[in-house]
Symmetry: C2
Subunit: 788 residues, 2 copies
């Protein structure tokens, strides 16, 4: 993935020069305090949430490292967490402004808001469906042209000899198309590389991945995925739909585009992390729904990956977006296919109808399915391990954009060559039935009225190949074809995932699985020759596809439902579930899922479902970042500016404390204020003195914060004069007066649960006498605190 | 529902005697603060929950009312919340014992636990499937016998005249069977009445409904539902499956049965609210799954109703239980149907296969579907309003068990009479096709080779009737039959729901909807005679069924998925969703869903998804219960016993405070201890003095608390001598040292979110200087606190 490569290229550059930028990936060290806890506690934090990103100690460590010169032998360590990432704040900032606004709102206002949420979800679904439709039609048309050209060429040269020229044409054509896709991704928007699913997983998990939901990313993603698929890579166009849906949601729900510099002045209420994240869930669901025609699967995907807090109305809205999305796609594609009103294209890929009459499967086939699940788990783990090594290699050596584009072109050329070779040496000729609707049957060396079966597999879009593997009559493919295809496609797909092109891994996985699944079905039929009826190869192809996909991505409930919905037949629910469960268990024994591997490789602080089982030993005090920077309720502007400018403690949240006047008691916590709020306050010069002198001065409103969301300017861009530095700022109105707090003895699982369930970014740790003797802060990502 | 009636009968008895028991349903008073807060504050606790239900003014009013003598004309008020119910604690009690145990556990232990969770879920699914299977077979066999008898009798008398004797036989037979069902429910276990879905909704919501998950309840429920269905009432056997699944789960997961006095010494770790509630979710899901053959729908039901915290592994386990459940049912039923390995009976009801070839529906039919959704919403609202009035009537006048049984018998007799009359006067004869597999075709006055169509509708189990309405050829029913059937069945079903019998409302709703839906299809076909092809009456029956069911129960995503899974065809997903959405919107405009109405009528403190939109005005201080009862960390046994025995403040959680020795500072919060823990401590006499004198005294372990769970003895049953009253108890080891706290200025939505997301029972409110000047406690249900 470009993102990784990007980061790593930076990382290795730093190594070369011996200079560590401020973005150094850091380990979280909570224990610098007690020393010697070092190696394990970075992870412990990590575990907590790594949330974070980092803990102080490790930061310090790495700072020391940088002073001593960073050890060259560790150019990349996925156990370190990157500081690039901040977390989303799912907690509303309940300051006085917010409460006043909420209190001003009538029931009618809330109803209007609710209606606009529905409207936004409808729009998200509609636009996502349209994008899916556009991608599908573009791929169909362009691939059609390409295959026509190549096919004509091959046919010409089959007669006269000199097929190597056809090969050359094919390889060059593919490389050229992939080059375009690679260039836009590598040079313009590296975050658009890959399927985007790891990034969206992280976003829904609460990690803000820079640039991931921008309009530019969407454009590059769409163009990139078209190029990749048309370029004949072993990729699918389904994964990127999820990312596209998420971007659409983030854009539509904010009612403006920062890239286009257009503000439609609508949906202003939704301009905060809480609402935006909800809408992005809906967008991701709509993407899944459009990709697989699986609206329920989409909802479950969004929930499984993102929503820690399940809300009935939210879920229902997400479902609405999903439904609209698949329906839009369906309508437009039916019009495109000149069959309006047909509604038989609910998704970009359809597994087609499996026979519903008669017995779908028998009781005694279930152990076979489970065995296939185990095979899928093994193959999936192998795939992931190979891809992991490959990604590490890429991170170290293939980090320049031009190298990345060249690698993509190489893969494209190799894919074409391998395909061609296999087609060339294959002698699997099948009769061309009159009713056969294959769009690009290739006669090659077969007799008249026959076609080359291997060519069909390689010469179609992967979606069509999956469909043929599921549904072609028994005997369409011979076992050697299937075996060879599995083998080559496995390695091609593995090599392809992680290239700097937009592409998904769903379809290649399905294809590999379907191929070996069909092979299994074939073998079973051969073994049980007397009564081979029950070994329908299409059914085994489906099971194999599920096993392979499950072994690679390791999704659970959502994948089951997606597969069932794509099959259009709930009868296969149980076998698919058993297969996915087996493949997950087997696969997890060896290595994590592919997306998790890539998340880890990008050093993203991802928060898992539960605190590690054995983390009851740790308490909040041990994992929190300390010392914290506290601000007074009425604070000098200069102090605030200095605090914000302090790059060594780049905190994002600051506890606000108050000193009881004239007493020597320790300061007490009275609120929490965020960096973003302080920036807005400074920008609008909300100083006590100015308010007094200019009585007409407009009072700062929530709108001002919303307008600045989400790209708050850096502190460096705000000019504060020397006079102004002496002014005071009253934070009372703007701070969150009731931040969540925990005593410092709270066990880690308890803190974790609070973070996870409420989507917190900051949690103030108070001392066990419930007074703020010292102010401790515990934060999710990259918001650290030091004592004022 | 018997439960309601129960409560009300008590309620009216109280009125009769003029004495208000301590269990009086109370209003929530948040204003007691300013004097006289006493009686109401138990309930203030409530407010948070049903905030929705009550507002302040009303409380005060009713308090005044009660002082003036309770007005007799309000014997039941569903705006009051009952004190009968306590809440489940989804928060682990993280005291020292718990932490020590967790810390002792290795990774391997955690893995074993995880495996036992899976085993338990598998068992839950298996047993639930078995129960469903048992119910189904029992109903089939008994109903078969009954119909044979009645049919033979009718056939005899059709020839000789004197059909009134047949009617009598039928009515008496039905009444007798229903009487049995009524007696066991009304006299032995009133909580087993109805479908049990409202109760399970409440349980999953976090309200502990007494006796709801006992073995006895299960037995009565299963026997009761068989009687109701065989007795010919307008009921289904699906709803009760959900309750049955939940009971199975609660039993299996605890590894013992208190009713049977058997402790299998397994799964002891799961003996606490947190784990039990998770398993009950799985049980409910397994129930849905067995009822409708809808494993995904089951999971979504459990999540929609219960889980505020979505956890991937938990969801996956719930799904596993669901799958096992439907699979078990499938296998056993296929054996019962003498077709082993067929696996075509995934649920108690199957909608049968809808044609999948060709166009399922057209774009332009969607407005029609939406219109039908609106009709369903209206009819559903009408149903609910009628049933609401009826239930109020029952609560006031039909609260004695014998009256309840008589009402059930009356309904059974009326149902038989109405059916008979309609069959008698119907002249809708249809030819009896040779391939017709109707099991009880009734010739009656039809010509030879024909059967009475109305009789088919009334003379089958409701499941079969639904199936025929969905699938019979166009023209099978004439419109008058359908219209009359809709009308009568609507009122019968409405009258039946709420009787003191175990019965579900799903199937009657589906049946009513299918009837008028088919009528709609018929009319459409009549209107568009030139091209009536698209108006397949079966399809419209399905849409009508969805609309009617949605209008009555108002479930959202889960119902969509259940319907889709029962249909076995994802193509109908979009229309079903649109229909359910419309019927919910239309229905909600008039009245709540049926289950919510019954929950309200039972005065159960149900916590909704979100705090009321306009509740930002309220702060924790205003809604918490106060004054609280605090205990010292080392407290005199006498004080504890007195506190627990104080019936006027029947608290369940007590903040533990500590006084810094020799200082005059206010006491500081240092923990929270529960009534149940104190009871166990007292029972085991864990006194400081005794520990000193008897050094060998066994240290109290977590096991002791688990053994006592969940039926902790009342304080009255624990004998404490006068000497012992002078002893001290050290609570340090047993209290939860890090309870969740909020400042008293926290807004209500924030507090609500914390309660909802974490499933809390108690939340300590501390003053805004973060010191425990006074100790405030804020709890969900019925756990109140007064100052020490």
């Amino acid at each position: 993935m470009a993102n990784i490569t990007k980061k790593v290229s930076w990382s290795s550059r730093a190594d070369e020069t011996g200079i560590l930028g401020e973005g150094t990936p850091l380990l979280n060290g909570s224990e610098q305090l007690t020393h010697s806890r070092q190696p394990s506690e970075g992870r412990s934090v990590f575990q907590i949430g790594r949330l974070s990103t980092v803990d102080l100690e490790e930061e310090i460590t790495s700072d020391e490292d940088s002073q001593r010169g960073r050890p060259n032998e560790i150019p990349h360590n996925e156990k370190l967490l990157s500081l690039k990432f901040e977390s989303l704040d799912y907690d509303n900032i309940e300051n006085q402004l917010f409460l006043e606004e909420e209190r001003r709102m009538s029931h009618m206002n809330f109803r209007c808001l609710e209606i606009s949420r529905w409207v936004v979800c409808g729009l998200i679904g509609f636009l996502t469906g349209l994008i899916a439709c556009f991608i599908d039609i573009a791929v169909e048309e362009l691939a059609g042209i390409k295959y026509q050209v190549v096919k004509k060429n091959i046919e010409n040269f089959t007669e006269v000899g000199g097929l190597s020229i056809s090969l050359l044409l094919w390889a060059v054509l593919n490389s050229a198309i992939v080059m375009v896709g690679g260039i836009i991704v590598a040079f313009f928007e590296p975050i658009a590389a890959g399927s985007g699913i790891p990034q969206i997983k992280c976003y829904l998990n609460g990690v803000k991945i820079p640039r991931v939901v921008r309009l530019k990313t969407l454009v590059v993603k769409v163009a990139g995925v078209i190029c990749s698929v048309v370029g004949g890579l072993a990729v699918g166009k389904e994964g990127p739909m999820i990312h596209s849906g998420a971007v659409v949601a983030a854009g539509v729900s904010q009612g403006r585009s920062t890239s286009l510099k257009r503000d439609f002045k609508i949906f202003e209420y939704f301009r905060r992390d809480t609402e935006k994240r909800d809408f992005v869930s809906a967008g991701a669901a709509a993407g899944v729904s459009a990709a697989f025609g699986a609206p329920v699967g989409g909802v479950l995907f969004a929930l499984e990956e993102g929503a820690s807090f399940w809300n009935q109305m939210l879920t229902w809205r997400i479902f609405f977006a999903s439904m609209i999305s698949t329906f839009t796609l369906n309508i437009f594609l039916s019009v495109y296919n000149k069959n309006p009103g047909d509604l038989s294209n609910p998704g970009l890929i359809n597994f087609g109808r499996f026979p519903v009459d008669g017995v779908a499967y028998n009781f005694y086939e279930i152990p076979l399915f489970i065995a296939m699940g185990a095979i899928g788990g093994l193959l999936g783990a192998l795939f992931n391990i190979l891809n992991y090594w490959l990604t590490i290699f890429r991170i170290r050596y293939v980090h320049r954009p031009c190298l990345q584009v060249m690698e993509a072109m190489l893969v494209a050329a190799v894919t074409a060559t391998v395909s061609f070779t296999m087609i060339y040496f294959s002698n699997d000729c099948q009769p061309l039935g009159p009713e056969d609707k294959k769009e690009y049957p290739l006669q090659l060396f077969c007799a008249d009225g026959e076609y080359n079966s291997m060519a069909t597999t390689f010469f179609n879009t992967p979606e069509r190949s999956v469909h043929s593997l599921f549904h072609n009559q028994p005997g369409t493919y011979n076992p050697l074809t299937l075996g060879l295809f599995t083998l080559t496609y496995f390695f091609l797909a593995c090599w392809t995932y992680g290239l700097a092109v937009s592409a998904g891994v769903f379809i290649p996985s399905l294809l590999i699985g379907a191929a070996w699944g069909r092979l299994c079905g074939f073998l079973l039929a051969a073994i049980t020759t007397p009564a081979p009826l029950w070994a329908d190869p299409g059914k085994y192809a489906l099971i194999g596809a599920a096993a392979q996909l499950g072994g690679i991505v390791r999704m659970t409930l959502s994948l089951t439902v997606i597969m069932v919905e794509a099959t259009g037949n709930v009868t296969y629910g149980l076998p698919i579930m058993l297969v996915l469960m087996t493949s997950k268990i087997v696969g997890d024994y060896f290595v994590e899922g592919l997306y998790d591997i890539h998340i880890k490789l990008q050093s993203i602080p991802f928060l898992h479902w539960e605190a590690p089982a054995t983390s009851h030993w740790l308490t909040a005090r041990e994992v929190m970042s300390s010392p914290v920077t506290c601000l007074n309720r009425i604070e000098k502007v200069g102090t605030i500016v200095d605090t914000l400018s302090n790059t060594s403690t780049n905190h994002n949240g600051f506890p606000v404390v108050v000193q009881v006047s004239g007493s020597d008691e320790p300061e007490k916590l009275c609120g929490l204020i965020l960096r973003s709020q302080l920036i807005v306050l400074l920008k609008h010069k909300v100083f006590v003195e100015l308010a007094r002198s200019r009585l007409t001065h407009r009072k700062l409103q929530l709108k001002d914060f919303r307008d600045a969301y989400p790209r708050f300017p850096p502190i460096q861009s705000i000019h504060v004069s020397q006079d102004e530095r002496e002014c005071m700022m009253d934070l009372t109105e703007f701070m969150n007066a009731t931040p969540y707090t925990v005593p410092q003895e709270t066990s880690l699982p308890r803190v974790f649960k609070l973070f996870r369930a409420l989507g917190l970014r900051h949690l103030v740790v108070v001392d066990d006498e419930n007074r703020v003797r010292e102010c401790w802060c515990f934060s999710t990502t990259q918001s650290r605190h030091s004592t004022a």
